[in-house]
Symmetry: none
Subunit: 400 residues, 2 copies
């Protein structure tokens, strides 16, 4: 028997709100980090009376992608639950994944005449344009190798695909080489049963690219994160706690759905988040909120924009807090995205746990440097929900 803190969970009415600010942590430029420059009023006011620390979303050194980082924060370690991006995207786009379905995340790309990828985002074509292309692809491709093909539109260059009806088995390697200057890759079977799927998926990719050949920018597509629905216990089953999620961005809603949560996709505003939070019935004892735009600004390397987005999300956290009045509010990130590095980084993220029984940290604000001197120390993803549940009084005394 391996004992885990989950063994001592009990159902209570207390409510936890976990607010994940995507790419929260930053790096000092001209002496200040993005958080230090933003000086978010609500979060800074919580910090001294909250318990505060730093969090490695997975473990020291890891640079988590979105899905992997979130699952680690939710206590689903990546070695035990290797969830790929495709299923999260399909669920986020509102699709369902039946047993035997393959789920694919796809990007419109720009290819050279020689079949080399020149732009992995097809110039970030507008959503309107990509939706029209998706509709046209769906008209022309409904089956490949006797497998049904369902296209799901996404934002800008992003979309997703369900392949249904022939017990295809994943996972498969990406056809997206991950960098420009290379051709599409063969979707390698990554399990013994995946040989058939790899041929069908390649045929689909080639057929789409044949149809798109004469498009000016989006003259091909590339696939990522190809897999069946993951075999993963729901959040409610794992933690005996009904849960729901709010996000403005599809894939994060998809992550919530992967864990069996009710999930709302709403506009990126304080009111929309507060209304969604208020709408959950009282038995929802765990509310997950996700804010995307901080990460986007960090990936663009736009310091001023990230500062702005931190101030925006500060108002959103405040509105959700006011609407939900949770017993425990946890605020953290799924990884750092310093403007300095224009991408996800390994740096730990600040963590704040606000609750009646949280020992006050006394720190001056919610920043990377203040959090390093907080009273929670430096934690790892697997510790997060244990502390959230403990502060919520959802854990019994551990006795055998």
């Amino acid at each position: 028997v391996t004992l885990n803190w989950r063994h001592w969970i009990e159902r209570t009415e207390s409510r936890i709100c976990l607010f994940i600010i995507d790419g929260l942590g930053g790096f000092p430029q001209d002496g200040q980090t993005e958080l230090e420059a933003a000086s978010p009023g609500f979060l800074n006011s919580l910090a001294p009376r909250a318990s505060v620390g730093l969090l490695y979303p997975v473990a020291p050194g890891w640079i988590p992608g979105s899905v992997l980082g979130h699952l680690s924060l939710f206590g689903y370690p990546p070695d035990e639950f290797p969830v790929r991006r495709g299923p999260a995207e399909v669920l986020g786009a509102g699709g369902d994944i039946l047993p035997g379905d393959l789920a694919i995340r796809a990007n419109f790309c720009t290819f050279s005449d020689q079949g080399i990828i020149m732009d992995r985002r097809a110039g970030r074509i507008p959503s309107q344009e990509s939706h029209a292309l998706i509709a046209w692809l769906q008209q022309n491709i409904s089956m490949v190798d006797k497998v049904q093909v369902i296209f799901l539109p996404g934002r800008e260059h992003r979309f997703s695909i369900i392949m249904r009806g022939s017990e295809l088995r994943g996972p498969l390697g990406d056809t997206d080489p991950g960098v420009v200057g290379k051709p599409l890759q063969f979707p390698r079977p990554l399990s013994e049963g995946a040989f058939k799927a790899s041929k069908v998926v390649q045929n689909l990719n080639l057929r789409i690219n044949g149809l798109l050949r004469s498009e000016p920018r989006a003259n091909g597509v590339a696939f990522r994160g190809i897999d069946n629905a993951p075999d993963i216990p729901s959040f409610e089953r794992r933690y005996l706690t009904p849960a729901a999620g709010v996000a403005s961005y599809p894939v994060y809603r998809g992550i919530a759905r992967l864990l069996g949560m009710k999930a709302k996709q709403v506009a990126a505003s304080p009111d929309a988040y507060a209304e969604a939070a208020r709408s959950f019935s009282p038995e929802i004892a765990f509310v997950y909120c996700h804010w995307k735009e901080t990460d986007t600004a960090g990936e663009d390397g736009d310091f001023g924009q990230k500062v702005e987005e931190i101030r925006k999300v500060d108002a959103v956290v405040s509105a959700v807090h006011e609407a939900l009045k949770p017993d425990v509010l946890v605020v953290t990130g799924d990884h750092s995205t310093p403007c300095y590095s224009r991408g996800h980084s390994f740096h730990p993220v600040p963590l704040l746990i606000c609750a009646k029984n949280a020992i006050p940290s006394g720190v001056a604000g919610f920043t990377e440097r203040e959090a390093a001197h907080g009273n929670l120390g430096v934690l790892q993803g697997a510790d997060l929900l244990a502390l959230a549940f403990a502060h919520a009084g959802k854990l019994r005394k551990a006795e055998l």
Copy 2:
């Protein structure tokens, strides 16, 4: 599949220098630790702009021996890679260990007429004297029980032995009882195949001690860390990163060779270390440096000498840093050796990571107490290379 941060390593040209100061951590006497009293100028100047924390080289409570502590820092956990001292000593002395060879670390000792060990270091006899004894032993013993015996001189009372040619299997227990006042022990077989080796090794120890019987001080020897070459992946294979080492003291060169590193043994001076560091070709992306004398001073309980040695190594780190200009400089210890306790201790060691993308700690200096308030928190050996590789940009985003 178990996922590990090593899964995301990529080969890059960036360079890491890991400088291990043996027995770095100390304990306050008259209010100051050895590091506080030494106030090393270069390390103190790095500390505020570096990321700083405390490190348990293995885990809390462990008092690591040299080989075990180093392997843990290099990310080879002792339960997975049980490496004994003999092989490290033989490799450090310039010997090679072939398949079927047994490697032994040996000490000249002083025995009473009743065969009781009175001094486990034979009064720290000078190297010149012990080398003469080694040459004489080699003349008189070339074979034992049809097994070839190769003596390798070391420093002072220390030497090592290779037993070759008969597929001997280790590991064996030590003949050295580890304390004075006891006789030699039988070298117990520690694996099923090691019965034959235990008899041969005992015969060798008895034969040597018979030959030395009339020596005034070094009238016998005792064996430790008896084993075959460990089955251990090279550093380059484990981390996809060519590596090399610099040390002034044989066994630390031996540890580098165990891990398949090129390894130089040089004089204990800033110039010698800098020259060795400069001599490595550009593809060597990981340079390990080891400084011994801080530990020796701590074991002697000589506070003033340890302060002096900390100042010396400060100049060496500075010279190596100037010579290599590494992208990431990591400075830490393999364990603490407080003068107060005259031996290795369990206390965590200060850790400093200096890199462009290291979040500045703002601490006042490189001391045990400042490090406790650093921004890296309290880490364990297994975290060290993950953070070093992350700071060096040698890790990809973790996505499935």
